[in-house]
């Protein structure tokens, strides 16, 4: 049996006697006997570390790892500089709790403060929080920031990630809000009718689930004219090339931060980023770090604006969130530091250029692009047999795009070389 209990049995015996107990079972004398587990738990025997290591490696081997990935759809493979893993593996960052004790948590607090600054710079927004669970919950939390007693309807484009729509629907059902979807025309969200005074906000994804670049500015302007807020869920690389959420007119910018240095990890941990205009600052959910001074005038960082939070406000809090994704926020900050402004712009440009190269090569091979509008790093092509094509690609060590009704949603990042893409096109042409 593996154990992480350092006191020896002699020491435990001594401690037990000292504290006034006869046997270890006496510690549980207040628990009624008929409640206790009888005959032990039905679990396997414990293992040594070596045995455990073998078990875990054998499970990991049962997963297929592809050298070449052309799938995104909410989870993106980008290059992760070596410094990122090195920094985020530091035990102090890994094993600390939420920084309630500011005096001995300045490191983690400052790292979040720097993260908040970077999110503000990327999005162009005034204020960022310290993160939420993922892009989908960030969208759902943003929707609840817009709710008022009279405004309980939420518009959501049909072109958003299906998981994001589902999470928004689930949160809204619980809170009593109504979700109305906005139809899509040629892969793009149509400018909706904002005339219903009960509409609080619209959630739009840029680029959308199909990779298409939305006319977000137009939709934002129409929303504002009707007194409706715009929440923009945006890919962080797209922000480096396309207008920022602030430039599109977003009141709240959210998104999936996973592309910023986090591996695919079968879906998590990921990072939900959230930034808002100053007006909405006090409605933001979760932790926010602020700068102040200690009593000797030295710069100090603290968790602040806590009057919004559950441990103070209980049922009146802006959200129930407590643990967020601090280590993932740190990951994003280290990643952005390593890439720098030029590296981010270069990566974003490469995503765009390579995706356009692949799209045009696939078109020549007979896989026609489904939508006519411009796209960022993802696009949908028609394909008569998506599963068949993906099976063939898998033999070559390529994870093909995500099958979407009668087509494939492809994704290209700076990781995909021209040689890989040419191989993919050759296989596609043969199907």
């Amino acid at each position: 049996m593996g154990s992480y209990i350092p006191s020896t049995s002699a020491q435990r015996e001594e401690m037990l006697k000292e504290a006034g107990f006869e046997t270890i079972d006496d510690l549980y004398r207040d628990i009624p006997d008929d409640l206790k587990v009888r005959g032990g738990l039905q679990l396997p025997e414990g293992c040594s570390e070596l045995e455990t290591d073998r078990i875990m490696r054998s499970l990991a081997r049962k997963n297929v790892v592809y050298d070449s990935v052309f799938r995104g759809a909410g989870a993106y493979r980008h290059y992760i500089p070596a410094i990122v893993k090195s920094v985020v593996s530091k035990e102090e960052f890994v094993t600390a709790y939420t920084p309630y004790q500011a005096e001995i948590s300045q490191g983690v607090l400052q790292s979040i403060f720097e993260y908040q600054t970077m999110i503000c710079e990327l999005t162009g927004m005034d204020v960022s929080n310290a993160s939420v669970y993922d892009g989908a919950t960030a969208a759902a939390e943003a929707v609840s920031m817009c709710r008022t007693p009279k405004k309980t309807k939420v518009l959501v484009s049909e072109a958003v990630h299906p998981d994001v729509l589902k999470v928004i629907r689930t949160y809204c059902w619980a809170a009593g809000d109504e979700v109305v979807t906005v139809p899509v025309c040629d892969g793009k969200t149509a400018v909706p009718d904002f005339s219903d005074p009960a509409v609080s906000c619209i959630y739009l994804q840029q680029p959308n689930f199909f990779g298409v670049i939305e006319d977000a500015k137009e939709i934002g302007a129409a929303a504002h004219e009707a007194g409706v807020k715009m929440i923009l869920g945006m890919d962080p690389f797209a922000m480096c090339l396309l207008p920022s959420p602030a430039e599109y007119g977003a009141d709240i910018a959210v998104g999936e931060g996973q592309p910023l240095g986090m591996p695919l990890s079968y879906g998590g941990p990921y990072l939900g980023f959230m930034a808002a205009s100053e007006k909405m600052m006090r409605k933001l959910p979760g932790r926010i770090v602020g700068r102040t001074a200690d009593d000797q005038g030295r710069t100090a960082y603290v968790l602040t604006l806590q009057a919004r939070e559950q441990h103070i406000r209980r049922e009146k809090a802006s959200s129930n969130i407590c643990s967020n994704e601090a280590l993932c926020a740190l990951t994003a900050a280290v990643y952005l530091s390593a890439m720098g402004p030029e590296g981010m712009k270069e990566a974003a440009s490469q995503c765009y250029a390579k995706a356009h190269y692949l799209a045009s090569e696939l078109e020549k091979a007979g896989l026609k692009r489904r939508y006519s509008s411009d796209f960022f790093c993802e696009f949908v092509t028609e394909c008569s047999d998506p599963e068949g094509l993906n099976a063939k690609l898998a033999e070559k060590g390529i994870l093909g795009g995500l099958p979407v009704d009668g087509g494939i949603l492809w994704c290209v990042t700076e990781m995909n070389t021209k040689a890989e893409m040419d191989l993919l096109v050759k296989e596609a042409a043969a199907v």
Partner: protein, 475 residues
């Protein structure tokens, strides 16, 4: 120390990407505002974060008896396993991720056995997220049974703030009931609160005072008789896992904090994982798809119309589950109750060493944690729980949880966990006693603690009144 932005030098960069190997092109819509991120070398970045790490106190730095947070040691084999490329480099939509699916299916079985539940979802990303999920199961249950009038969740006044906050997000009205002096549920008050509007009760057992509520079967019976459901907040499971199961206490659904009892690290505030388990009658309402295994092949199967939907994208914080699964593989059937017994032993031993000097909020045997009250010290000497907490920092100890639970004045909540040795507890007790002696001798000294931390007490009032929430950048 300087921020990354203050260290930035225009034109400095790391060499990360090769040149583009396809023709360049650009979108029509373009960003106007310059992108201002720090420009740094790898040396700059490495040194910056090494310095920040030095100003951060983790479990690896010393004793961390932060009550209610179960800051046990985080075994390194967990990190090794979660870092295997077979887990990290797998896309969430891959149907050939058989190892991931097998792991989740096996983790579900193990955790259901430990909690006495029938099914589980790993989608919730933290404890509070799990609470919200569990409450939605309760809401769905009542909705589908036509119980439209059931809109009240009963929460004891000693509960974590997330309980009422989660209830409110779920559209429930919260009724707080006062606890008996030992923090246990006052049965009469519970009976009064229960009625035709009761949707459910949220409870943690042992409670936040570290006492096991021995009336638990009676409590869940009262709620069930009134037509409500019972939700178990798994924050304090470390005290009783393998000893007694929430399912056997009469709870219908639960959440676990894998980042507490199951040894996954807190990461300075996440990522956590808050799987939600339930009895079979609630299973159709669970979010996310369900893993099924046919002829040795695992697959995700969508749930029916009755499911609440989705709580997060994909299947939750998978790598956190990998860590907890690794831990459970190490512990096995004997190890799980061994953890609980030693967590309780360590708490009782430390409590015993402090008694006589410190006043405890409750009498008798505690579970994995105990609560001290500094009320009389505050009254007589003006030294507060906060002063004691800050003085402990100077002794190399992370302070206990302060001012919680709310029903104890000047509270300090101490949870040593099972991964601390007798020597650590002896030394900690000495530090606690020395600090108390200093408080009696020199209250003024205490008000200005800590003296050895990177900063002294920060001005939180100014921080909230004049918020500075980002670095200023000079163009």
């Amino acid at each position: 120390m300087k921020t990354l932005f203050e260290r930035s030098v225009s034109g400095r960069r790391c060499s990360i990407l090769p040149a583009c190997d396809v023709p360049a092109c650009a979108p029509e819509q373009t960003r106007e505002k310059q992108l201002r991120l720090p420009e740094l070398s790898e040396t700059d970045i490495s040194r910056h974060y090494t310095e920040l790490a030095k100003q951060t106190f983790g479990v690896n730095d010393g004793f961390y008896p932060l009550g209610s947070c179960t800051m046990k040691y985080n075994p390194k084999i967990n990190e090794t396993a979660a870092g295997l490329p077979g887990f990290t480099d797998v896309h969430p939509t891959q149907d050939d991720a058989q190892g991931s699916m097998e792991l989740l299916a096996e983790a579900e079985k193990k955790l259901c056995e430990i909690t006495g539940m029938d099914a589980m979802t790993f989608q919730p990303a933290a404890g509070a997220h799990g609470e919200l999920t569990g409450l939605m199961l309760i809401k769905r249950y009542h909705e589908l049974h036509g119980n439209t009038e059931r809109n009240v969740i009963i929460v004891p006044d000693s509960a974590h703030g997330t309980n009422p906050a989660s209830s409110a997000m779920c559209g429930f009205k919260v009724v707080n009931i006062p606890s008996a002096p030992d923090g246990c549920v006052d049965l009469e008050k519970l009976k009064e609160a229960c009625g035709s509007d009761t949707a459910g009760l949220m409870l943690t057992n042992p409670n936040t005072l570290g006492i096991f509520d021995k009336n638990i079967k009676e409590i869940t019976r009262i709620v069930h008789d009134a037509g409500g459901l019972c939700y178990y907040d798994g924050a304090n499971l470390n005290a009783v896992m393998g000893i007694v199961r929430p399912g056997d206490m009469g709870f219908d659904c639960i959440h676990l904090n894998l980042h507490k009892s199951f040894s996954t690290p807190h990461g300075g505030g996440g990522p956590g994982s808050g799987p939600v388990g339930c009895k079979s009658f609630l299973e159709p309402y669970l979010p996310d798809a369900k893993i099924v295994c046919e002829n040795g092949k695992y697959a995700w199967q969508a749930r029916g119309e009755e499911s609440i939907g989705a709580m997060r994208s994909f299947h939750g914080n998978f790598l956190v589950v990998v860590k907890a699964f690794t831990y459970l593989t190490m512990l096995g059937r004997e190890g799980v109750p061994e953890v609980a017994r030693n967590a309780v032993l360590n708490a009782n031993y430390l409590k015993h060493l402090l008694e006589g000097t410190y006043e405890t909020a409750t009498e008798g045997t505690c579970m994995h944690e105990f609560v001290l009250t500094l009320e009389s010290l505050k009254k007589e000497n003006g030294v507060s729980a906060m002063d004691i907490a800050k003085a402990l920092q100077d002794c190399g100890i992370h302070p206990p949880t302060m001012y919680f639970p709310l029903n104890v004045h000047e509270a300090l909540m101490v949870e040593p966990t099972e991964t601390e040795s007798k020597e650590t507890l002896d030394n900690a007790a000495k530090a606690f006693l020395d600090v108390y002696a200093k408080a009696l001798e020199d209250p003024e000294y205490m008000h200005h603690t800590p003296y050895n931390s990177p900063i002294s007490r920060p001005d939180e009032v100014t921080a909230a009144r004049h918020p500075v929430l980002r670095c200023q950048i000079d163009d």
